[in-house]
Symmetry: C3
């Protein structure tokens, strides 16, 4: 059975599952293209509130790219450009561009391409025995620069180079201390905590989550905000959810947001 990326959509929370049975969910080229397509579609869904990414089963998030197909799918520079830029980097960029919060639920191996995917999510929640790394220096090739961007923004050049130069596998506690993870939970609890995180996110106003992502991303660019951008930061004033949030605050009750 070939690998696949499956989508489950429930209460406006999407769960994408990396699934490559018997290969620790290693991501093959069809899966990368499927992940890219899923993200393109999800990123256009105005009702979406949160995306959870996980691996099938509890042995791995994803053990890396599916190396067995490399001789066939990226033997030339042109093939490699298609594979790494149009499929892998584009899928990763699709995750980074996601307008709603993204949460990686990680059990077991989170290696190479799996680590790249996790590094593009907003939150990374891992079971204590999960392990992290990108030992491709032993395979004789370098990580494609277009695949490094998420990890570089997340942990900076020093930790990324540590991971790439030594090719060492890190445990979850060390990965947490180095900023690669948001939090560590007991084994088997990563998806439970990711669901709890999605509920925390969903209990807030949906547009506010989108605005927070939009503004934080905007501020990582150096140009000063224009007057028009500053005014647009107050678009919330015209929303039902702002009125509901304030009304609930003054009435000391929980708000019920509608996403408009």
């Amino acid at each position: 059975m070939p690998g696949q990326v499956t989508l489950q959509l429930e209460s406006n929370v999407a769960t994408l599952t990396l699934d490559n049975d018997g290969k620790l969910n290693a991501i093959d080229s069809v899966m990368w293209q499927s992940l890219r397509a899923h993200m393109t579609a999800l990123n256009d869904d105005p009702a979406l509130r949160c995306v959870i990414l996980r691996g099938a089963g509890d042995k791995a998030f994803a053990a890396g790219g599916d190396i067995e197909e490399f001789p066939h799918v990226r033997g030339t520079v042109d093939q490699a450009l298609t594979y790494h830029d149009e499929w892998v980097a584009a899928a990763l960029d699709g995750i980074r561009a996601c307008p709603v919060p993204t949460v990686a639920a990680i059990e077991g191996a989170c290696i190479g391409g799996g680590l790249e995917i996790a590094g593009c999510c907003d939150l990374r929640i891992a079971g204590r025995s999960a392990r992290f790394g990108a030992p491709i220096n032993r395979l004789g090739f370098s990580m494609y620069p277009g695949e490094m961007a998420g990890l570089l923004e997340l942990v900076g050049p020093a930790v990324l180079l540590e991971v790439l130069l030594e090719g060492r596998i890190l445990g979850a506690d060390e990965a947490l201390a180095k900023g690669l993870l948001t939090r560590v939970v007991d084994d088997g609890e990563a998806i439970t905590e990711a669901d709890a995180s999605a509920r925390r996110i969903a209990s807030g106003a949906p547009l506010v989550a989108r605005w927070h992502k939009q503004w934080v991303h905007r501020l990582t660019r150096t140009e000063a905000l224009t007057d028009e951008e500053k005014r647009s930061a107050f678009a919330f004033l015209d929303t039902d959810d702002y009125r509901e949030g304030m009304a609930a605050f003054f009435a000391k009750r929980s708000p019920e947001f509608k996403g408009r």
Copy 2:
């Protein structure tokens, strides 16, 4: 009694106290303008050596902006621009622009606008039970981008987004591990340690502290240093304090700096 920001000046160390009794020092619009005015005045004081920011009492640094006045003071985009850009962001920018070291002493609640203020200080010292967050997603509005800059520079996009998207309250140890704090001390000891930090700072040459802040801020801009800037980095050679520092070093005694 309305809220206020009080200034105490002793041995060239300024202490600014956020004080809004019965409201966990929630910062109202008058307090934001007062904070801005205090910073403008302090930033022009050539004798100033250090600024400590704290909350009145031991229950809170500041529990956030004073939400009760929001319906009155920021109902329109123009009002919101005045409130968030001219008052809040300008007060925060005044802290970031402070030419001398700034230390936040944090006990209890450090939420929303309180967290924004702490994030603009050079050092953040907190009691172990202090708590941190910005759960405004439940109020239906987003943090003004102009108020994010200090936190974004401090902890980067991943931690800032974690705080904003989940709206979770973090304890001091977790906040420390995530880079939101400089150090954690026993409850009730934050101001004691902030005073000790101010003494450490004051035992150094005052102009050197100003130069260190100036150069680190300069280097966060990407343009290469000009020859003139490079030469100006040696302005210390012409100061009494440099001669005193070297003389004390060779005589194996403590230096006595004058700030000139």
Copy 3:
């Protein structure tokens, strides 16, 4: 006996030793120029695989610049420019520009110029009793901006300013938590672990290590990658080591890389 920087080259791993006996390896102007010259030569060696920097003995990595010569070697702005820009900053830039992985093995004092050197290495491995800081505020002069770049990229403005403004000495565990170190080992084991790290690095394909450093450094610049740069990221396809890496992977054996 004057201070010196000695070079030992073994199996394409260079070890540079800061050696100033009786002065905790304080780095004098001759040593800075020697360090710069060594880095210039090493950076041109296509066979080089790794550089380890260490202090002689087990009392210090380096306790700082050799302050005793300051009155003679940097009394004027022109002298200071030569000393700090042409000698110190150029030596540090030589370490940062090194095309192969650099590892600092740190026991004992790692202060001032010693901390600057360590901050320019890719990995920093320290014994548990090592200590870190830059208390030059008590000497009445400021760190030269050209010497701050490595530390600023490593830990960001907040931690760098904490170190400079308080002038406090940090233990290894605190330095690790603040991102100043890659890992902490038992006292006396820093060089052992640095050697183990060099072996991990050397077990990977040498060109891959160089490419990883090149691309991470490239991505810290903001301009988008050109098409030509993207294509050049697949130079590995033409190397014997890539073929060896893939062959070894499929044969489930260890690869033997040649660096070509």
